[in-house]
Symmetry: C2
Subunit: 455 residues, 2 copies
């Protein structure tokens, strides 16, 4: 038994330190394509803060890399193993410690599944808005590491906006508390927000105090068919410009609609250029839906279908929820991008993506959190076909380049991980990157926390 394993076991129960190669292999990567994973030395599954501290003290003393993991539903390889690392799975620290309706906060451990929290707070008439597609599986700790978004963001914002305070085990095992459980607070630097989205590179989140909202009324949605993505994007701009704040505003292009039909037999329109879904969760959404329907028609929608009730609205959204699985099924493998542009440039982003698909002879379906300008161009390819895989990778780079050119960012909500780390340097520039490195060194002088990710 190696010194690492021996020392880990001195502070963790037997079943908390796993070395079985099959198990380690099954934990070696998240759901990203094109991201290599190394061979870990151990999988540690702590149940307490002290066990996490012990793990970090041990790893720091031996200079062993530590890769924190939640549910490994990430799409950028941020949770992938590096050779010889300790995989630190926080999945078993999954207790909801407190829900306070008066203070509108929840205090949770990092392994709590997003949907479990949503259901628990709903019993108190509250909502935790961030709703990534993987919400039935992904953990709050993973959401915090990535800075996850979801469908709700156009009205309710991203994970970062709901994190009030954190307990974080630092690289050397010390415990840092950031933030607060109050609604407001400006005492000192915002270390909470520095940790959110840092992909495990600054510390291990072991507890989070989250802001909640009052549960909104059920959504009422409409679907609008457009002859082109450009016309749908025009409608998005006019809707936002007119001052509407929909609870979601989603776009699917023709490729996505066909893929969803192939998978689900839902009978979505296939001859249309793009489908736009808008929903409102206000007490009386009818006037807003009517106004949005009119703006869609004015932007060239061939058909506008408002839902009669919440159940019909849910049906309209099911197609959108199936989009990623459907696009993956097209050719066996898919690679989802996450470029976010100012919404005024959304049409340019989608036209440019179509041009890239055509030039590379690839199928690229796009669904988008259109209200946010956050597009998910998804390259469908056969991983066994080397040439197609190469083209898929190259088109992916061109899509990020296009996003930057349009004043956007390489990642709206999925993070950088391994997948985009070369591109991060390009987006940030030298001055910012130098400060990133200095901050990283301040938190983790030995560089053991998730090395090789982010930058």
């Amino acid at each position: 038994m190696s010194e690492l394993i021996e020392r880990l076991r001195a502070g963790l129960p037997e079943e908390g330190v796993l070395t079985d190669p099959d198990i380690l292999r099954s934990y070696a990567n998240d759901m990203a394509s094109f991201c290599p994973a190394g061979t870990p030395a151990a999988l540690v599954t702590p149940r307490t803060v002290e066990q996490v501290q012990h793990t970090m003290r041990t790893a720091n003393a031996l200079r062993v890399p530590v890769v924190p993991q939640g549910a490994r539903t990430g799409l950028s390889g941020a949770a992938n193993a590096t050779d010889g690392c300790v995989l630190l799975s926080l999945a078993r620290m999954d207790r909801i410690l407190e829900i306070s309706p008066v203070d509108r906060i929840a205090v949770v451990e990092p392994g709590v599944v997003n949907a479990a929290l949503s259901r628990a707070v709903a019993e108190h008439g509250l909502s935790y808005p961030p709703d990534p597609s993987s919400w039935e599986m992904c953990t709050i700790g993973g959401n915090i590491g990535t800075g996850s978004g979801g469908l709700c963001c156009v009205k309710y914002g991203v994970t970062a906006e709901y994190v009030l305070g954190l307990d974080v085990v630092l690289a050397d095992g010390r415990l840092l508390s950031t933030g607060r459980r109050t609604a407001k607070g400006v005492a000192g630097y915002d270390l909470t927000r520095l940790i959110v989205g840092s992909e495990g590179s600054l510390g291990i989140v072991v507890r989070a105090t989250l802001a909640l909202r009052a549960e909104p009324p059920q959504q009422l949605a409409l679907a609008a068919e457009f002859p082109s993505t450009a016309a749908a994007c025009e409608a998005v701009c006019r809707i936002m410009e007119a001052g509407h704040t929909p609870a979601l505003l989603e776009l699917m292009d023709r490729t996505t609609l066909r893929a969803v039909n192939d998978l689900t037999k839902m009978g979505l329109p296939e001859t249309t250029g793009a489908l736009l879904l808008a929903a409102f969760d206000t007490p009386d959404p009818a006037p807003q839906l009517r106004a949005v329907g009119e703006l869609c028609a004015a932007a060239g929608a061939s058909e506008v279908v408002p839902a009669e009730d919440a159940a019909e609205s849910e049906l309209l959204l099911q197609g959108r929820r199936a989009a990623l699985t459907a696009l993956e099924a097209v050719k066996g493998t898919s690679m989802i991008d996450d470029v976010c542009v100012p919404r005024s440039r959304l049409a340019d982003m989608l036209d440019g993506t179509a041009e890239i698909a055509e030039r590379y002879g690839l199928t690229i379906g796009v669904c988008a959190h259109a209200g946010d300008g956050n597009t998910h161009p998804t390259v469908c390819f056969d991983a066994a076909d080397e040439d197609e895989s190469r083209r898929a990778r190259a088109s992916f780079d061109e899509i990020m380049e296009l996003g930057l050119k349009l004043g956007g960012t390489i990642t709206g909500e999925h993070g950088v991980g391994v997948l985009k780390k070369d591109w991060l340097a390009r987006e940030l520039g030298d001055v910012s990157l130098e400060l990133h490195r200095a901050i990283k060194t301040a938190f983790d002088p030995n560089g053991i926390l998730n090395p090789g990710k982010l930058f």
Copy 2:
């Protein structure tokens, strides 16, 4: 002419580098009480980013401290001069560079006055929510430095939530760009949020990209009278627990009501223990106001007065807006605190504050952003009376101590500056403070940016 002045003038116009002692003295401090100010060496008033860069390069080369200033309406001494410093006033960089209704953003220079931005975006049907009391004077740069709040925060949040990206001149004169102009983005560490609330200790903000919202309908308010602050706080808890999201929820205690009447002759109720103001800015606020009125009555309100229209609502709010000036007038000097507690502890905070006032034989009026648990206990004293001044300072410390004991923070929205820097260390603890220092060193190795403030 000193080397400092000579080198500053090499890159700034004559009128941009001032050394007149009277002028320097008039710029030496902000609006905080009990905060000493040193004697500055120069006041620099740049109009361009390049002039700010030149100033920082010069100061860094000569190891001269630089104190950035906006409108100096701050309440913690963060903008106070230190001996021999360069006061860097950003007030003349006051252009609104862009307002985009489609992208719902504004791009501004730091010297833009909060109210000027609010009015400019209102012309496009947009709103910039953060509304500190000093909004007619204070600048966006100052708001960003402090992390300012206001009345709107219970629904719309604080300044930090509206800052998407920043251009920042670093201590050595290099230009850092942070963030983005997209609605979402998670590329790299959140340096934007690290700068917000850092009180000029990490860099000089020279440009900000701000998120805007659609302009809400006009507010409709109600006022409720309670026999005690405890009863009013009970109503606050029940209102929030019931899932309401008022656009403001403000409390004034009896001392404050009397002070406002003395100043304005408004005829507010003086025999009541506390007045609660609630307002909604939804399309149909009447049912919400009715429900809130009922909750107030159930919590013991002796009277509930709903406004008939927006004009009457505005009248109700005028008393609240006059509160700080009124409390200052009571004894000539006032010292406003800014303790924020979980709203479930608001009643304990107010009872404790009353106990402290009695024990010290002081007049302490409290107004509070009650929905946020953010209290402004305001000590009224005669600055010429040494003993009373000493007691005022001591009571102030006890109020912060009480806030921390109740799970709160020493500052909800005013910042730390000079006034609370001893207390910041206490709130943060050693581990956090060490990381604060390391981050400060990463940004400003020579420690020239606003030294002696914050920590």
